[in-house]
């Protein structure tokens, strides 16, 4: 027993040591190849969220090689799984890890990190090192990456505009021979007859399945970022002014409709409490309509998810707001030793078609083959469901430069441009509110909203009769909504006067 134990022990410790040695990261010390007088070779590390790709090392090496003449960098791109992104991103910034290009967005703490001084201001360097970005036809998006006059983030040019409404099961639409006009902007009242038909003829199908947080916050064009924001700017309006969402005419009207629909049984009865993802219900054929983005590309991807043909009833024109532009950005952290080179790389990412496609799809012939000039498909031997290299299309540089993959619409890149340019621009486009002075008010207001929003916006109770609505408004006032509005409008007006 004793000998056996000692043997096992030695074996185990041995295994651990051997394994830890072999797994040690190999030092990437490479003799820095001096390029007669040109740029010295440096390491360039880029970090973004995403599923780590099997062939990342190969693609990194190819990109370094491709950029050897112009940038001469030893490129390393590391993707951090979505599951660990928030934690790792915070730790990278807090620990001052050396990174040259880092992904950022409001949903990964852009504002806080910018305020902390985690990113370099590249406003002055931009014309010299990134002329491609500075002179692009979408350089107006740069305002969203600014805080004051400091430029911290370079927005990726992607599907920035948004259009929301109802996504419905097309088969049911056809079954009852109902009219549908894709180009029209519907009002909720226009949509009611459709719900009525389904309610009367399909007893097993819920006409509209939604979550309370989505019903109203998603059917009106507020420029808000979170579902519980209580003040915002109407992104499709003419006037840039913050107002109390819950007191606006638009909201009150929709609130009454929600109540009406709930009473008529058009909406799922468990709306106030359910956490089921509506898209699953649509896929399972349990409901007729859901609240969602209705722009054509978003609809197309949902069609794939559901395996059903869908139709999108727009409830608003396509619009563009600061928070939507900020959806994907790259910044240069202050820990970067070569910010100029990092900026040059970012510029390449926005202008170099080959580079962007390499970052997203990998290497030609190895990961994809060309079908036509701008369309590609998976290379032979690559399973399209489990590719060894395939990244998110909306993350890198300029999405309009991308090839279309597989059965994607070959017109998609040009549609993207048109969609973004045609969208109604928010009157406060580019303004980012600095909330640091109002932390307490915002926390208090969120608490009040969290308590009342499910009841009010779901239409489950008659908020007027019960006096809930008045109580809610009174509580918002007590929590300091007027102070918040005052501060927001003050900052907004200052910003407007500088434009």
């Amino acid at each position: 027993m004793n000998k056996k134990m000692r043997f096992t022990l030695t074996m185990l410790i041995g295994t651990v040591l051997v394994l830890s040695l072999t797994m040690c990261k190999k030092s990437d010390a490479q003799a820095a190849a001096e390029n007669d007088g040109a740029l010295k070779q440096v390491n360039l590390k880029m970090i973004a969220p995403g599923t780590p790709q099997v062939d990342q090392a190969l693609v990194n090496a190819s990109i370094s090689e491709y950029l050897a003449d112009e940038l001469n960098v030893n490129f390393e791109f590391e993707q951090i799984d979505w599951a660990g992104w928030q934690d790792r991103n915070n730790l990278i910034i807090a620990s001052g890890e050396e990174v040259d290009v880092l992904f950022t967005a409001p949903w990964s703490g852009y504002e806080t990190n910018a305020a902390k001084g985690a990113f370099l201001d590249v406003a002055e360097m931009l014309p010299e090192y990134a002329p491609g970005i500075a002179n692009s036809n979408y350089n107006w998006t740069l305002v969203a990456g600014k805080v004051g006059d400091k430029l911290y983030g370079i927005p990726t040019y992607q599907m920035m505009a948004q259009q929301r409404g109802f996504l419905v099961n097309k088969a049911l639409l056809d079954k009852y021979d109902m009219e549908f006009d894709e180009s029209k902007v519907y009002s909720p009242e226009d949509f009611e007859p459709y719900l009525k038909v389904i309610k009367e003829n399909e007893p097993n199908i819920i006409p509209l399945y939604t979550l309370h947080s989505k019903l109203l916050s998603f059917t009106d064009p507020w420029e808000r970022q979170g579902p519980l924001e209580v003040t915002s700017i109407d992104a499709t309006g003419d006037e840039a002014v913050y107002q109390n969402i819950y007191k606006s005419d638009m909201y009150i009207k929709n609130m009454k409709i929600a109540r009406d629909w709930f009473e008529k049984g058009y909406v799922n009865a468990d709306i106030a409490t359910t956490r089921e993802d509506p898209i699953n219900m649509l896929a399972a054929g349990n409901c007729f309509a859901i609240v969602f983005q209705t722009n054509p590309p978003a609809r197309a991807s949902q069609e794939k998810m559901c395996g059903k043909e869908l139709a999108g009833f727009h409830l608003m024109p396509a619009f563009m707001a600061t928070s939507l532009i900020q959806g994907a950005m790259f910044s240069i952290p202050r820990t970067s030793k070569n910010p100029e080179r990092a900026l040059m790389f970012l510029d390449k990412m926005h202008t170099d078609k080959k580079l962007v496609n390499m970052l997203v799809y990998g290497l030609e012939d190895r990961h994809f083959v060309k079908v036509s000039d701008n369309a590609i498909k998976a290379a032979p031997g690559i399973d399209p469901d489990k590719p060894s290299y395939y990244n998110l299309q909306w993350m890198f540089g300029n999405q309009a430069l991308l090839y279309t993959y597989g059965d994607e619409d070959p017109e998609a890149p040009s549609l993207l441009d048109k969609f973004n340019q045609d969208a109604i621009k928010s009157p406060a486009l580019g303004f980012t509110y600095d909330s640091s002075a109002m932390r307490n008010e915002i926390a208090a207001l969120s608490n009040v909203a969290a308590e009342f929003d499910p009841v009010i916006s779901a239409g489950v109770v008659d908020v007027y009769k019960e006096g809930t609505y008045d109580t809610f408004l009174a509580k918002l006032e007590a929590a300091g909504i007027d102070r918040l509005l005052e501060d927001q409008n003050k900052q907004l007006n200052e910003w407007l006067s500088q434009q």
Binding site: L9, L12, I13, T15, V16, L19, S20, M23, C24, K25, T51, P52, V54, E78, I80, D81, W82, A83, G84, D87, R88, L91, A94, S95, G96, E97, Q158, M159, E276, D277, I279, N280, M281, A283, A284, G285, N286, F292, Q293, P297, A298, A300, S301, Q302, K304, M305, G307, P384, D385, K386, Y390, N391, L392, Q393, W394, G406
Partner: protein, 298 residues
């Protein structure tokens, strides 16, 4: 009429006792069976009918989805097993080597070292310094040892072990061993260790579970997908599905794959539970033995 012996149990109370234990066992087992049966149910059936003990349509797509990556699963399993086994062993050795001197009354800096380890229970550096230490000072990123080291010495277990020693092993045992000519190492391995088997089993079980359930260290330190532990593999598969469901743009990337999220969750629980189920009976043997030995000696 037969006279009832004192230890005999009447039929009604037998039934009652059995009933109680049957119910208790059911409460433990039924949820587990439910997890298994949900994991083999068709996703759309769950949407329509909810959870059922006996699935009306059996569908193994959740397992198919999980096992498309069979190599990765086997590898992650191996990593978890190596980390758990070697981590538990090293941890037990270290804990014993810290706790034993604290128990010895003739150890000169006993009070200082007792306080030294106790202090870390009250105050610690926090996550960021911890991360900096591991990645920039010790340079353990992408190193298997980064998964083992953080849990090697737990002050709470040291205190438990020391308390066990002081309460169960009288000083005279050590004195007599010294008189018999045993060296320090021999005393520890031949006398203390066998006497303290129950506490080793208990702490061993705790540490095993800590190592087996850990996913956070993989999240922090391992960036190469193939070297992560099974728990983190499951965790991230789950979160990635969630992300795809909530993000239409990312979902577009997944193409037309239908993701059975509800069933996958359950399938993961089934796959992840594996070795721990086996570990319990193994440790239980020591538990029972340790308890009875302790009882006889009083």
């Amino acid at each position: 009429m037969k006279k009832r012996s004192l230890t005999e149990i009447t039929i009604p109370s037998k039934i009652l006792i059995n009933l109680i234990f049957i119910i208790v066992s059911l409460i433990c087992i039924v949820p587990f069976i439910l997890v298994i049966s949900v994991s083999i149910t068709d996703e759309s059936i769950i949407m329509r009918e909810g959870y059922r003990l006996i699935p009306s349509v059996v569908n193994l797509s959740a397992y198919e989805y999980l096992f498309t990556d069979i190599n990765q699963i086997v590898r992650s399993y191996m990593i978890s097993i190596i980390v758990t086994a070697s981590g538990t062993l090293l941890s037990l050795i270290l804990t014993a080597m810290y706790a034993y001197p604290l128990y010895r009354k003739d150890f000169p800096f006993r009070k200082f070292f007792a306080f030294f380890i106790f202090f870390t229970m009250l105050f610690n550096g926090g996550l960021v310094p911890f991360y900096i230490m591991y990645t920039q000072v010790l340079n353990l990123r992408n190193n298997l040892f980064a998964l083992i080291m953080p849990f090697l010495l737990n002050p709470f277990f040291v205190i438990i072990m020391r308390t066990y020693f002081t309460q169960n092993i009288p000083d005279s045992v050590i004195e007599s061993a010294i008189l018999d000519g045993a060296g320090e190492l021999r005393i520890l391995t031949k006398i203390i260790l066998p006497l303290a088997m129950p506490v080793f089993a208990t702490i061993g079980l705790f540490v095993t579970i800590i190592y087996w359930n850990d996913w956070f260290m993989s999240l922090l330190f391992i960036s190469k997908n193939e070297n992560i532990s099974i728990q983190y593999y499951m965790y991230k598969t789950m979160l990635n599905i969630q992300f795809m469901l909530n993000n239409p743009q990312a979902a577009a990337m997944a193409g037309s794959i239908k993701i059975p999220s509800e069933t996958i969750r359950m399938a993961m629980a089934v796959v992840g539970i594996g070795p721990i189920v086996i570990a319990y009976p193994f440790f239980q043997r020591y538990f029972v033995k340790g308890l009875t030995v302790g009882a006889i000696k009083g």
